[in-house]
C-alpha cells in the first residue's frame, strides 16, 4: 500500500481480529446508538461494542433486541432521534431485516451497518459468499466492499462521514467477507482519537423526532407523489458518488491510503481483465502477477463501490480490453446472469466498443478460492472466446 510522503505520528500498528478492528472504528467514530441481535448469525463486532459500552469506553446507547427486524427498527428510531447509529449483521440476519432496510433507505437515515457477507440457507451454510447482500441489492443504501482488515477499518470510519453529509443523508453498508475476513487476526494501522475527531465532526441532524417540536417522519405517499419520492431517492443516491470520492480523498490525505470506486491492478496493456469484489481481489492480484510474468496480458479491476454503481469509472477502467471476466460470489437462480455480471453487461450494452464479457461464479458457501482458480478461469474464458459463448455464465469448480 502506498504511504503518504509525510505522515504525522498519529497512528499505531496493532494485530487484532478484523471484527474487533471494526468495533474500534465504530468506537473512534463515537457512535451514539447501537442496536443488535447478539447471537448467530453475528460477528464479534457487536459483542465487542457491547463490552466497550459496558466498560464505559464508548458513550452510547446499546440495545440488545430480540431479532434483526427489531435491530433495524430500533436503529431507525434512534437515527430519527438524531443519534449517530450503527449495527452489524450477516446472512439470515440481513434477510430478517429485509422489510426495514428499505424504510431506512427511503427515510434517509444515515445509519452505518457492517454486513459480514455469508451464504443464505439452505442448504444450511454459515460460510462466506455474497448471496445475502445481493438479495438486498435494491434497498436504497450506499454500499461498498472491502478486501482486507485495514480497509474494513477505514471504510467503517468513512461511512459515517459520507452517510451524514447533508446532501447525501443515506444509510451505508460496508460489506466484508464473512469468516475469511471477519474472523482473521491480522495487522492494522489505527489512527488516534484526535485524528478521527478532526476527520469526523459530530452528527448534526437536519430533522429530529422531538416531542416538544413535533414533525411527521415516514408519512405515506399517495400515487401522485410516490414516484417523485423514488426519483429523488435515485438522484440523491446516484449523486452521492461525488461526495464518496471527496471523503475517500480526505482520508487518503490523512492516512496515505487512497480509495476509488473501481480500482486497477496491472491493467496497463491488458487485453484480458478479471473483475472481482471483496477478498477475492488480493488473491486474484497474485494470479494476475504470475500470469503477467508468464507473458499473458492479464489485468485486474475490482469493484469497491457497488451502490451507486460506478458506470463511468468501470468503463474507463476496462478501456479497450478485449475480454472481461466477471467473478460473482452469488447466484441468481433462473436469472439472466449473477448480479455483478448482469450489471456489468448492462453497463457495456450501449457502448460502441465493448469487450467480450464472460461470467464465473466462484467461492459459494465458503468454497476455497486459491490463486490457481483465477488462472484456470482465464484459460477457460480465452478458450470460450475462440469457440463462441457456451452458456450465459458458469459455476466454477462444480463436481460432476
Amino acid at each position: 500500500m502506498a504511504k503518504a510522503k509525510t505522515k504525522p505520528a498519529r497512528f499505531h500498528r496493532e494485530g487484532m481480529e478484523v471484527s474487533i478492528a471494526v468495533s474500534h472504528a465504530v468506537q473512534l467514530a463515537r457512535a451514539e446508538a447501537i442496536a443488535a441481535y447478539p447471537i448467530t448469525p453475528q460477528t464479534h463486532i457487536v459483542e465487542h461494542l457491547s463490552s466497550l459500552v459496558a466498560d464505559g469506553q464508548l458513550e452510547a446507547e446499546f440495545i440488545n433486541v430480540e431479532s434483526e427486524h427489531s435491530a433495524m427498527s430500533a436503529c431507525i428510531g434512534m437515527s430519527a432521534a438524531g443519534a449517530r447509529t450503527y449495527t452489524a449483521t450477516s446472512s439470515q440476519g440481513l434477510a430478517l431485516m429485509f422489510e426495514i432496510l428499505f424504510i431506512a433507505g427511503a427515510m434517509r437515515f444515515p445509519i452505518v451497518m457492517t454486513v459480514a457477507n455469508r451464504a443464505l440457507s439452505g442448504p444450511l451454510s454459515i460460510w462466506n459468499d455474497h448471496s445475502d447482500i445481493m438479495a438486498a441489492r435494491d434497498i436504497g443504501w450506499l454500499q461498498v466492499f472491502v478486501k482486507n482488515g485495514q480497509e474494513a477499518f477505514d471504510h467503517t470510519v468513512m461511512a459515517f462521514k459520507i452517510a451524514e453529509t447533508p446532501s447525501v443523508l443515506l444509510p451505508m453498508i460496508v460489506n466484508l467477507d464473512g469468516f475469511i475476513l471477519s474472523h482473521v487476526v491480522e495487522a492494522l494501522e489505527m489512527p488516534d482519537q484526535e485524528l478521527v475527531d478532526q476527520f469526523l465532526p459530530p452528527y448534526s441532524p437536519r430533522h429530529v423526532l422531538n416531542p416538544k417540536a413535533p414533525v411527521t417522519m415516514g408519512a405515506f405517499a399517495m400515487p401522485e407523489i410516490y414516484t417523485e419520492v423514488k426519483m429523488k431517492h435515485q438522484v440523491t443516491l446516484t449523486n452521492a458518488a461525488g461526495r464518496i470520492q471527496e471523503v475517500w480523498d480526505e482520508w487518503g490525505q490523512l492516512t496515505g491510503r487512497q480509495y476509488y470506486p473501481v480500482e486497477r491492478h496491472l491493467t496497463e496493456g491488458a487485453e484480458i481483465l478479471l473483475l472481482t469484489m471483496g477478498t477475492l481481489t488480493e488473491v486474484a492480484e497474485i494470479a494476475v502477477e504470475e500470469m503477467r510474468e508468464a507473458g499473458l496480458p492479464v489485468g485486474l479491476i475490482s469493484l469497491r463501490q457497488w451502490r451507486p454503481f460506478p458506470f463511468a469509472a468501470l468503463r474507463a477502467a476496462v478501456g479497450d480490453a478485449k475480454l472481461l471476466i466477471v467473478c460473482d460470489r452469488a447466484l441468481s437462480p433462473g436469472g439472466a446472469a449473477p448480479p455483478v455480471l448482469a450489471e456489468v453487461r448492462s453497463a457495456f450494452y450501449t457502448q460502441a466498443q465493448r469487450p467480450d464479457i464472460i461470467g464465473y461464479i466462484i467461492g459459494l458457501g465458503g468454497r476455497d478460492v486459491p490463486p490457481e482458480a483465477f488462472k484456470d478461469i482465464v484459460a477457460k474464458a480465452r478458450e470460450e472466446v475462440t469457440t463462441g459463448p457456451t452458456q450465459e455464465f458458469h459455476l466454477y469448480g462444480v463436481r460432476g
Binding site: R13, E14, I126, V184, V283, V369, P370
Partner: protein, 185 residues
Amino acid sequence: MLEIRFHGRGGQGAVTSVELLALAAIGEGKFAQGFPSFGPERRGAPVMAFLRINDHHIRLRCKIASPDVILILDPSLIRIQKPAADLKPEGTIVLNTHKSPAEVRQEYGFKHRLALVDANTIAKEVLGVPITNTTMLGALLKATGVVPLEAMTKPLQERFGPLASKNFNALKAAYEKTHLEEAQP
C-alpha cells in the same frame, strides 16, 4: 512466507495458539494472518487452524494447502486426518509426544524433519492441567525461530492476565526440551 497449520481437537486451544503467535509476529513488526478452519464448533472434534507469517502484507485468503510446518496437539489425529500428506518435503512436523524420533517415524511413517516434545507432561507439571496449546508454541518456536521467546510475553499477558507467567514458563520449558531431528531420506 511461513505457512503453519495447527491440528487439534475442539477445546484444545489450537485457534488460541494461532492468534497468540500471529499477535507476537505482528508485535515484532512482521505481518501475520491467523484464522480457524470455520465450521460448527464441537468439543473434541478434529479442528484445524491456520497461520501465515510474512515480511510483507499477506494477500492470500484461502486455506493453507501445502504448509511449511504442521503442529499436532493430539497425536490421535494423525490416523484420522493424515496431516503430513500435503506437508512440503522440506517441512517440519511439530508433535506432542513422549515417544522418541525413531518410535515416531516407525509408528507413523514420517520422513520429514521432526520437532518432538512431551507437552502433556510439561503442561501438567507447570500449568497443572493437560492443556498443551501454549506449551506446544515453545516447540514451534524452537523448530522455526520465527519470533524470539520474549515476543510471546505481551500476547500471553493480554490473553491470560495473571496466568500468563505460568503459560510462558510452560512454553519456555517446551522450547528447552524439544527434540529436533532432521528429515530422513
